[in-house]
């Protein structure tokens, strides 16, 4: 056993090391600083999450691509072969919204229960607790990229060119998605400690949310005309996922107006005909909102965290 490096008087003096403070109230900047300083732990938890999910499976992470690819195949059969809703390449439209939704949904469902599930850890090891919820979001991000890869392959295979210019907005949209998902996940994980029904409630609510987001239908086609008459288009965009999903669809599906593949080939408005600038501005605004939401979530979590030990 190599005991040598530790033996002898330590040369390191503690005089100059910074002082850490443990107290009831922690300022928001300290909270964020603490999370940032433990990013290695966040990474470790994400890796272990993924490892555990695919433990003892031969294909491992590959499954996170196989499963969505298979789903894609089924959708292709349903919408392009049997049901024929008239949208050309509807699979791409559907899948570009679905990967956003999958990331959101799986993060929220796992994060909501995470503090209760990892109570043993929370009660015994010191680290910023929101990292647990963030690690669920992190794992979902990894699966998101696996699905994105599948989408890119399918887009290429179908010979469909994405909107290259709009792709510049994609990172902004994606960061907003991560921030919003984290914000909601962090808050729900804390609420679930006090109100254990949250987990079941959110599952039901997510089903409703799914249909409030234009994933399996077109916003422009099905919803916009009705709202425009009353001048309340903005109501629909109160759902922050709408803009993100529409941006992804604009990038990968590209076509704002298509000719139906079903006779008599009427014109369908699939996506908003907004300019690049409008997309950019809206997404930048959303990023701002997402940042604020994340800070608020951190503050709420800080308040709720204080009495976890009495409830776990």
């Amino acid at each position: 056993m190599s005991d040598a490096p530790l033996a002898g008087q330590r040369s390191r003096s503690l005089e100059d090391t910074p002082v850490r403070v443990v107290s009831a109230r922690v300022s928001l900047t300290t909270r964020l600083g603490n999370v940032w300083s433990r990013r290695e732990l966040l990474l470790g938890l994400i890796i272990s999450d993924i490892r555990i999910k695919y433990k003892n499976s031969t294909l491992g992470l590959f499954w996170s691509m196989v499963a969505p690819a298979f789903t894609l195949g089924v959708y292709f059969l349903v919408f392009n072969v049997f049901l024929k809703n008239g949208y050309p390449n509807f699979v791409i439209y559907l899948f570009s919204g679905l990967i956003v939704w999958n990331m959101f949904q799986s993060s929220i469902i796992t994060a909501t229960g995470v503090i209760v599930d990892r109570a043993a850890l929370v009660k015994k090891v010191s680290f910023p607790r929101e990292i647990l919820a963030l690690s669920n979001v992190g794992a979902a991000v990894v699966y998101f990229f696996a699905q994105l890869l599948v989408l890119v392959i399918v887009v290429g295979a179908l010979g469909h060119a994405p909107a290259w210019k709009f792709m510049l907005i994609l990172p902004i949209s994606f960061i907003s998605l991560c921030l919003l998902t984290s914000a909601l996940g962090i808050v729900l994980s804390a609420i679930n400690v006090y109100l254990r029904d949250m987990r079941h409630l959110i599952e039901v609510f997510l089903q409703l949310w799914f249909y409030m987001t234009p994933i399996v239908y077109s916003y422009e086609h099905a919803i916009a005309p009705h709202l425009q008459i009353r001048g309340i288009t903005w109501v629909y965009f109160l759902n922050p996922l709408t803009l993100i999903v529409v941006t992804f669809q604009r990038v990968f599906y590209v076509n704002t107006i298509v000719h139906s593949t079903v006779a008599p080939h009427p014109i369908i408005d699939v996506l908003p005909t907004w300019s690049f600038d409008r997309f950019l501005i809206l997404n930048a605004l959303l990023l701002g909102v997402a940042l604020v939401a994340f800070f608020i979530a951190e503050a709420i979590f800080g308040r709720l965290e204080g009495e976890f030990e009495s409830e776990l």
Binding site: L6, G44, R51, D197
Partner: protein, 383 residues
């Protein structure tokens, strides 16, 4: 000396729910039912620990010592007050709490390291030491769920002590593993001491505190009742335990027996090494009682030299003054000052009926050539 830990006015209140309504339905149906009681686990605790000190925290179960430790580690947040820390801290609290049983030992070492604040690279650096110390060997790549409880704890301990902490917090974990591993752990803690690290040791094992700590604080029902040199604190702790036991004593025996004094016929506690000493222990009892008599002898720096009792023969106390004779036939000790504790326990040895800490101080003089504590009288010759 740099102050490493500063605990200032720390209080901790817990809410105890008597009727837990955690589901929505129950909350809606019983909006006001379920009483919540506030329990003061810690009440304005103040102390500081300097760099390189080893501080013992003693107290019986429920005295708040684990709560205090968890506050210092940051697992719990104090309700009021502040704790200021310098340097990184590794806690040996309920070892292996952070383990993911589905993962291999190797993955868990990295994960646990990250929890203690180490980077992946830093864990790479200590990984071999961890495996060697834990004696896990080839099982390091086995899923932790197949580990025995001993292996589990050994691995966790090995990570925690190899992270090079500035402050090490140890909570009752020295009772894990087999005896050999325990010795190894104590060894490691002593080396940490020599290296000038700061150690907090929480235990209700007074012997361990005596052996490892320079200073101890005593907690009782959330309040700090002593802070000082180990032997003074331990005396207060024992007296307190006794007083506490008197309150909860079903047979009302406690407090009825009192050890008044220890004397010698000559009045002097100085003795030459190898000579004998006759001690006369004066015991006042209010009732007739038959129990076992115990004596302990410690060196002045707290090492237990001997603990002996009346060897099954009970001491029969009568109401009034009693005298118990303790004959130390030949004291084989080398020169030094030795502290004597005497006490009376019930025949099964479960409860202390009366106790006197440092009832007498014995001065031994020795003019031979041997060094240490005890004279073995070895003869050395060439064959």
């Amino acid at each position: 000396m740099t102050t490493v830990i500063e605990v200032e006015g720390v209080s901790k209140k817990f809410k105890i729910h008597h009727e837990r309504h955690q589901s929505l339905k129950e909350r809606l149906l019983h909006p006001r039912s379920g009483t919540t009681e506030v329990f003061d686990a810690l009440q304005s605790i103040n102390f500081t620990v300097g760099e390189g000190e080893t501080l013992g925290i003693v107290g019986h179960n429920g005295s708040g010592k684990s709560t205090l430790l968890k506050c210092i580690c940051g697992v719990l947040k104090p309700t009021t007050g502040e704790i200021r820390l310098r340097g990184n801290l590794a806690a040996l609290l309920e070892l292996g709490a952070g383990f993911q049983t589905e993962l291999s030992g190797r993955d868990n070492v990295y994960l646990y390291g990250a929890m203690l604040g180490l980077s992946r690279k830093a864990v790479d650096g200590i990984f071999d030491d961890v495996v060697a110390f834990s004696e896990i060997g080839q099982f390091i790549d086995t899923q932790v769920k197949f580990y025995s409880s001993g292996m589990y704890v050994r691995l966790a301990f090995a990570v925690a002590v190899n992270v090079d902490p500035d402050i090490l917090v140890v909570d009752e974990v020295l009772s894990v593993g087999d005896e050999r591993f325990q010795a190894k752990c104590v060894d490691r803690i002593m080396r940490f001491q020599q290296e000038g690290r700061t150690i907090l040791l929480v235990t209700h094992n007074a012997d361990q505190v005596r052996a490892l700590c320079d200073r101890a604080i005593v907690l009782d029902r959330g309040e700090m009742i002593a802070d000082g040199p180990t032997r003074d604190s331990l005396r207060i702790f024992r007296e307190h335990l006794l007083a506490d036991a008197v309150e909860h004593d079903p047979s009302h025996l406690l407090g009825t027996v009192h050890i008044e004094s220890v004397s010698t016929p000559s009045g002097s506690f100085e003795v030459k090494s190898g000579a004998g000493l006759h001690l006369d222990v004066s015991v006042v009892s209010q009732t007739a009682y038959s129990g076992n008599f115990v004596m302990e002898l410690f060196t002045h720096n707290g090492l237990l030299v001997s603990r002996s009792d009346a060897q099954g023969a009970p001491v029969n106390l009568l109401p009034g003054h009693n005298h118990v004779a303790v004959d130390l036939g030949q004291i084989p000790l080398l020169d030094g000052v030795y502290n004597l504790n005497v006490g009376i326990v019930d025949p099964r040895g479960h409860n202390v009926i009366a106790w006197s800490e440092r009832a007498a101080t014995i001065q031994v003089t020795y003019d031979g050539r041997e060094g240490g504590i005890v004279e073995l009288g070895a003869t050395i010759r060439q064959q």
